[in-house]
């Protein structure tokens, strides 16, 4: 009995210690929103792989975080070649939570963001997966006086899967430099990581 009490006390202590007195969150309701000032961006229900990729294209151009994150799979990974990446040790990519956070940082920091891309190889599609190759050019203009304009060039390979809900999501995004001198999408993301 004594051991039980000690165990229970230790367990309670381990709750109280990290939370500084204990707190929780209501799992049933969300916070109230302000009335919308706009219709909220270009987004189509991704019932095919090409629509899912179009959604990502528009989400980036419209800096729309909500539409961007909805297009990523839960097990999403972003990987890149190692050409100019500045992280010191062991960084070869990241996962969905990090990707969303980086996109949020980029969208917040950029005053203007323009993404253009073109097909670089034939798309590969089957019933439940698809692979798209895109050559891209991203122009980012950030504030300040004078404003800073940076162009990012490269090739991205998008691997998409269909979910249980029959929606297409991006589960892997592989980024490659086009030349050694030019910044790629991975460099843009690393800068705002």
């Amino acid at each position: 009995m004594k051991s039980k009490i000690i165990l229970f006390a230790l367990a309670m202590l381990s709750i109280a210690a990290p939370l500084g007195g204990g707190c929780g969150k209501n799992p049933f309701s969300t916070r109230p929103s302000e009335d919308p000032l706009s219709t909220g961006g270009t987004y189509t229900d991704p019932v095919s792989a090409d629509i899912a990729l179009d959604n990502l294209f528009y989400a980036y151009n419209e800096r729309n975080l909500g539409n961007f994150t909805r297009g990523l799979a839960d097990n999403f990974t972003f990987t890149f070649d190692f050409l100019n990446i500045t992280q010191p040790v062991g960084t070869t990519g990241w996962e969905e939570t990090e990707e969303s956070r980086i996109a949020d940082n980029i969208f917040r920091a950029a005053d203007t963001l323009i993404l253009n891309w073109s097909v670089s190889q034939t798309d590969i599609e089957d019933d439940s997966s698809a692979t798209y190759y895109r050559l891209y050019e991203i122009t980012v203009i950030t504030g300040g006086s004078p404003a800073e304009t940076t162009v990012y060039l490269g090739e991205s390979v998008f691997y998409l899967n269909v979910t249980e809900a029959a929606r297409w999501v991006i589960n892997r995004w592989d980024d490659r430099h086009r030349t050694a001198e030019q910044y790629s999408w991975a460099d843009l993301k690393s800068r705002y990581r």
């Binding site: 909500g66 100019n84 949020d104």
Partner: protein, 586 residues
């Protein structure tokens, strides 16, 4: 001794993965070992660029046992990494280390490695060499006492005193686990590490040197117990921490585009569990979890904090040997908070609601039925008016009846139906006559799988699936109504035959066929007309061969596929896949 040979080819990518491991004992006290590995990837792109990566590693070592406690060793190791992409880069790391190890018990020991390290790097025309002394200290102490309670303390300290790129890495951890009385247990795990390392921030330039300092760790407690045999509880808590800072070491100007920003992250959370059993026929479980994360990027306004609350309820009932019922419900809200002074205010909540019911009944030993129903509701809500136009509900309903019929031991028939409806409705479009983004997607599917195994070494499977899908905008007229924009009908058929002509050999040929036809729905003279949109046809043939001799030393897997597909919207496509793996150990 073990050998692994692996090769695969897939569209434009070739992958090789080979390794060898050799161990040999000279008497009872001396062991010699050799480890080698090769990993290579080649990607051929249509832009004409051949992207090749090669990793080669090898090491040989000798260990000699001086006494039951003391041992000495010598290790020679080399790692080569070559990236042949746009700029050819080559890295070579070599180590020569002596080791002295003192073993108090199988779980408690201390070891010290000392030696010389040499590093060479080249990228295009630039190259640099580095050399210095290396010291690696590792220790672990573990005690076990009454009723398997145990304490373990472990630590490592690695110091690489190279001239250009030195590094120091320390790590320590504490684990304690124990069962205090029967059924009750408490575990605590602490892990903390610190690393201070220099690096070249530009891969094609060795002029700039930067330093990263990283501190990270976690503290985890797991407690569980029960009151009698009927009620049990659990309490888990976890804290994590991470701190990164970066600094320029030499006098070159490092712009913010080159040097990462530092950060401070932490998280805290707990989970409470309560459950019980109802006699021998069922049980209930409930769990509540809370977690919060904080970020601090210093002067950069990109911090984002999050809070998560989650409640999960589960119940299961098996009143007899032929029936079972399970119910699961989950409510979860994740709230993201960004600094209110940010120009791009993206505070948002993501809510999930989940309900699942599954019932199965065995009518007879040869016939059983399962019916499952699930609902998943996802809510995305931005707080700012700038983005709240994206607020939406995504409701998915799925009903899946299935039956399994086994009329004779050699024949099994599975029949499954899936009916799904997915409503995506945006708050701002409620009441609009022509919404642009609110949609309804419906799918109905019937799948039949027949397995025939007349002989013990042969299984023949035949599969056919018919699928109907339609999609269109949701229009609000007192309630959401669907207007079909397109529909798609798919036929998927295939067979495979697994044959074992010999105990060691297995051969599995297969053939698959798929046809999809999509139609647009267009209005013509107040009538809806189906206009053909796309047709897609695919044939796929595949063969797999497996060889596993009974002595267990060899394992060979070889598979190949050819896919031929044609779509009305694109050219004919023929693709091949090949994969080979061979393992041998003795």
């Amino acid at each position: 001794m073990a050998i692994l040979v692996g090769f695969s080819y897939n569209y434009d990518t070739y992958v090789w993965s080979d390794s060898v491991q050799v161990r040999h004992r000279f008497g009872r006290q001396t062991t010699w070992g050799l480890d080698g590995g090769l990993s290579a990837t080649q990607i051929s792109s249509s832009d004409g660029i051949q992207r090749k990566q090669r990793f080669i590693s090898g090491q040989t070592f000798v260990q000699h046992q001086l006494s039951p406690q003391w041992s000495i060793g010598l290790t020679l190791a080399q790692r080569r990494h070559r990236l042949e992409e746009l700029a050819d880069r080559h890295y070579v790391f070599s180590d020569a280390l002596t080791e002295l190890k003192y073993t108090l018990s199988p779980l408690s020991w201390v070891s010290q490695k000392t030696g010389l390290s040499i590093a060479g790097r080249s990228a295009g025309d630039a190259s640099t060499d580095d050399a210095g002394l290396t010291s690696e200290t590792a220790a672990q102490v573990e005690t076990r006492y009454w009723r398997d309670r145990r304490w373990q303390v472990r630590g490592t300290l690695n110091v690489h005193r190279l001239h250009n790129i030195p590094s120091v890495e320390g790590r320590w951890g504490l684990v304690t686990q124990g069962e205090f009385i029967i059924g009750d247990s408490l575990s605590m795990i602490v892990d903390d590490s610190y690393r201070q390392t220099r690096y070249y921030p530009q891969a094609d330039n060795y002029q700039m040197i930067a330093e990263q300092r990283l501190r990270q760790g976690h503290f985890l407690t797991l407690a569980s117990g029960g009151w009698g045999d009927k009620v049990f509880w659990g309490v888990n808590t976890e804290c994590t921490w991470r701190r990164e800072t970066y600094a320029a070491i030499n006098d070159d100007i490092l712009s913010t585009a080159v040097l990462p920003m530092g950060l401070r992250q932490s998280s805290r959370g707990y989970q409470l569990k309560l459950g019980g059993t109802i006699g021998d026929i069922g049980g209930v479980n409930a769990a509540y979890g809370y977690a919060e994360t904080d970020e601090d990027f210093g002067a950069d306004v990109k911090d984002q904090n999050a809070k998560t609350g989650e409640l999960e309820l589960q119940a299961y009932l098996s009143p007899g040997a032929t029936d079972s019922l399970s119910v699961r419900a989950l409510w979860k809200v994740v709230s993201f908070y960004v600094p209110p002074d940010s120009a791009f205010f993206t505070d948002r909540d993501l809510a999930t609601r989940l309900a699942e019911v599954s019932w199965s009944h065995r009518h007879s030993p040869a016939w059983s039925t399962t019916v499952s129903f699930s609902y998943r509701g996802l809510r995305q809500a931005f707080i700012s008016g700038l983005w709240s136009g994206n607020n939406n509900f995504n409701d998915i309903y799925l009903c899946e009846p299935a039956l399994v019929w086994r009329p004779m031991p050699a024949l099994k028939i599975n029949q499954t139906y899936r009916i799904q409806a997915n409503y995506l409705s945006y708050d701002v479009e409620k009441g609009q006559p022509q919404p642009e983004r609110s949609t309804l997607y419906r799918r109905g599917e019937s799948e039949t799988l027949i397995s025939l195994s007349p002989l013990s070494h042969s299984i023949f499977e035949l599969r056919y699936t018919y699928r109907y899908e339609d999609f269109g905008p949701l229009i609000w007229r007192e309630k959401w109504n669907q207007q079909v924009s397109w529909d798609r009908r798919s036929h998927l058929a295939g067979w495979s035959w697994r044959i074992k002509p010999h105990q060691a050999w297995e051969l599995t040929p297969g053939l698959h066929f798929e046809q999809k036809r999509a139609y647009n729905h267009e209005e013509e003279e107040n009538k809806t007309v189906r206009v053909p949109r796309t047709t897609f046809v695919r044939r796929m043939i595949d063969v797999a061969v497996s060889w596993r001799p009974t002595h267990g030393h060899d394992d060979l897997q070889l598979s190949g596929s050819r896919r031929i597909q044609r779509s009305s919207s694109g050219p004919k496509d023929i693709s091949d896949w090949v994969e080979l793996t061979y393992r041998r150990h003795w």
